[in-house]
């Protein structure tokens, strides 16, 4: 295939043309600072508020519960650090899981260095958090439970409603990192008892560099970025107006197309999973077969290493990932795959394919053929495979 097949939509997505279109006037026509008093700038304040309205509606939230940030990572940092700050008088214990994104895990490590205690709840072999363990971990000093809505590597969707109920029962705040879930799964913060939620525009065909933190009214929240009075004095810094407008537009489009789009993605995903499991020996699907994001497939191929696989796919014009994009460059295998129980060498041979609705069945077919070829080639090169065959 000449055309690039982009199967890494969990890493980032193409900003939709309609989104770019919506952003453009805010660069050099309506470029005012929303904090300014003159008419020229009030249109920008309105544009920001309109985006906030669209997003609040998509989450079932109030307009004044949405705070824009510079991305999903900032939102995660804010949620955890500001909660720690505001509630440390109540206690210094936070519960999260072993499979969170580094934006949560590394923030937890930071908080640990500041005297907080962190419990990392286990997940089962499908990546579902163990609810009984989670509930048992709650102490009188627990101030926050942070569990991601859906995992970025293996796509597993957590039982968020149940977790929300547990948090509520024990009067503990509940934050969820919904960076991967927003736009792919129905989310209603009230129905699910979510107190704080992080999202990022570039994961749902919006621009990079803009995200949000939903904070339920009533939650005591401190600023994380201090300065001017923007975002109701909660998040300082000149608003990224074009970015926020783009985020709003992307959410509007994602919400409008949700059912149709995810139905299509699920068909493509299931076809991909079925073919790979049927046609490649010594392979496993990571994550849950059904409780998974519509766009996510994650495989481990025994005896081969992920980066080599990726490069060979790339040589064949297929863009894929071996885990979270953020951790490439690291030599450790994915903490998520280890948490679901994979041995190191199998975790090393993992491949994440995340589709979008514009991928075709032909492209999936081509991809499966290439995977077969490449896995075969790499196994021929592998001393582990050699040993395995010898021992048989």
């Amino acid at each position: 295939m000449e055309k690039k097949i982009y199967l890494d939509n969990a890493a980032t997505t193409q900003t939709r043309p309609e989104v770019v279109e919506a952003m453009l006037p805010y660069f050099n026509v309506m470029y005012g600072n929303p904090s300014s008093v003159y008419e020229f700038a009030t249109q920008n304040r309105k544009a920001v508020d309109d985006a906030r309205g669209i997003i609040a509606k998509a989450l079932g939230a109030q307009v004044n519960e949405i705070y824009f940030t510079g991305g999903g990572t900032e939102a995660d940092n804010w949620a955890l650090k500001a909660t720690a700050d505001a509630y440390e008088n109540k206690g210094k214990h936070i519960i999260t899981t072993k499979i969170e994104h580094h934006a949560v895990l590394h923030t937890c490590e930071y908080l640990k260095s500041k005297g907080f205690e962190i419990t990392y709840a286990d997940v089962d072999e499908y990546g579902i958090v163990k609810l009984d363990q989670l509930e048992k971990a709650i102490r009188p000093t627990t101030i926050l439970i942070s569990v991601m809505f859906a995992n970025n590597e293996i796509g597993t969707i957590q039982p968020i409603k149940e977790i929300g109920a547990i948090a509520k029962k024990h009067n503990v705040l509940f934050h969820t990192d919904a960076v991967q879930a927003f736009g792919q799964v129905d989310i209603d913060v009230n129905d699910l008892n979510i107190d704080m939620l992080s999202a990022s525009a570039h994961k749902l065909n919006g621009p990079k560099g803009v995200g949000l933190l939903y904070i339920r009214n009533g939650v005591k929240i401190r600023s994380f970025i201090h300065g001017g009075a923007q975002e109701r004095q909660r998040r300082a810094g000149t608003e990224n107006v074009p970015g926020i407008v783009g985020f709003g537009k992307a959410v509007e489009l994602a919400m409008a197309s949700m059912k149709e789009r995810t139905d299509k993605e699920i068909k493509l995903r299931d076809y991909l999973i079925k073919r790979v499991l049927a046609e490649v020996p010594y392979v496993r699907l990571n994550g849950d077969r059904h409780r998974r994001l519509p766009n996510n497939a994650n495989f481990s191929f025994q005896f081969i290493e992920g980066e080599s696989l990726l490069i060979m796919l790339d040589m064949n014009n297929i863009c894929a990932s071996s885990g979270s994009a953020c951790t490439s460059g690291s030599l450790d295998p994915s903490h998520v795959l280890l948490a679901i129980g994979l041995p190191h060498e199998i975790a090393h041979g993992s491949l994440r394919l995340t589709i979008n609705e514009n991928i075709t069945f032909e492209e999936i077919d081509y991809t499966v053929e290439k995977i077969k070829e490449i896995v075969d080639k790499l196994r021929k090169m592998s001393p582990l495979y050699e040993d395995f065959i010898r021992k048989r």
């Binding site: 490590e109 930071y110 005896f303 080599s308 041995p343 090169m381 001393p383 050699e386």
Partner: protein, 145 residues
């Protein structure tokens, strides 16, 4: 991320495969770190490396360094092969990204391990060769906070 040389050796690895009844075989690395290299040497009575093959489980750099290392030792004497350092391998590949330097060390170690196996089998000592570690893990830790 990789140089053209690395990509070329990755795409078309030289001397990939096995040698039946090799004079020496060495395996280094571990699956935990995601890199395992195995070198097969065919050494004649004059101590010339007549043939060399490798198998590698690992990243693009691991495959390319294995391939390059085999090229650099093939046809050489044992003493010459011992001079093939990781630096020589890296230079021949026009460099490696910093996080991948350990792959070139692994390649050097794999040759040494195969030579060590050869010496053991023969019951000889090779000057300048000590028993290689079978496990090389050498991760960089950058302070995160």
């Amino acid at each position: 991320m990789y140089t053209a040389k690395v990509m070329e050796h990755f795409a078309n690895p030289r001397n990939m495969g096995e040698i039946e009844n090799a004079s020496g075989v060495g395996t280094v690395g571990n699956a935990k770190c995601g890199d395992i290299m195995r070198m097969y040497l065919d050494i004649d009575d004059e101590g010339i490396i007549r043939d060399v093959k490798f198998k590698t489980f690992g990243c693009g750099a691991a495959v390319a360094t294995s391939s390059m290392a085999t090229e650099l030792v093939k046809g050489k004497t044992i003493q010459e092969a011992l001079q093939v350092t990781n630096k020589a391998v890296m230079e021949a590949l026009d460099g490696l990204p910093p996080v991948k330097v350990h792959c070139s060390l692994l390649a050097e170690e794999a040759i040494h391990a195969a030579l060590w196996d050869y010496a053991q089998k023969r019951g000889i000592q090779i000057e300048g060769l000590s028993q290689p570690k079978s496990d090389i893990s050498e991760e960089e830790h950058v302070e995160q906070y």
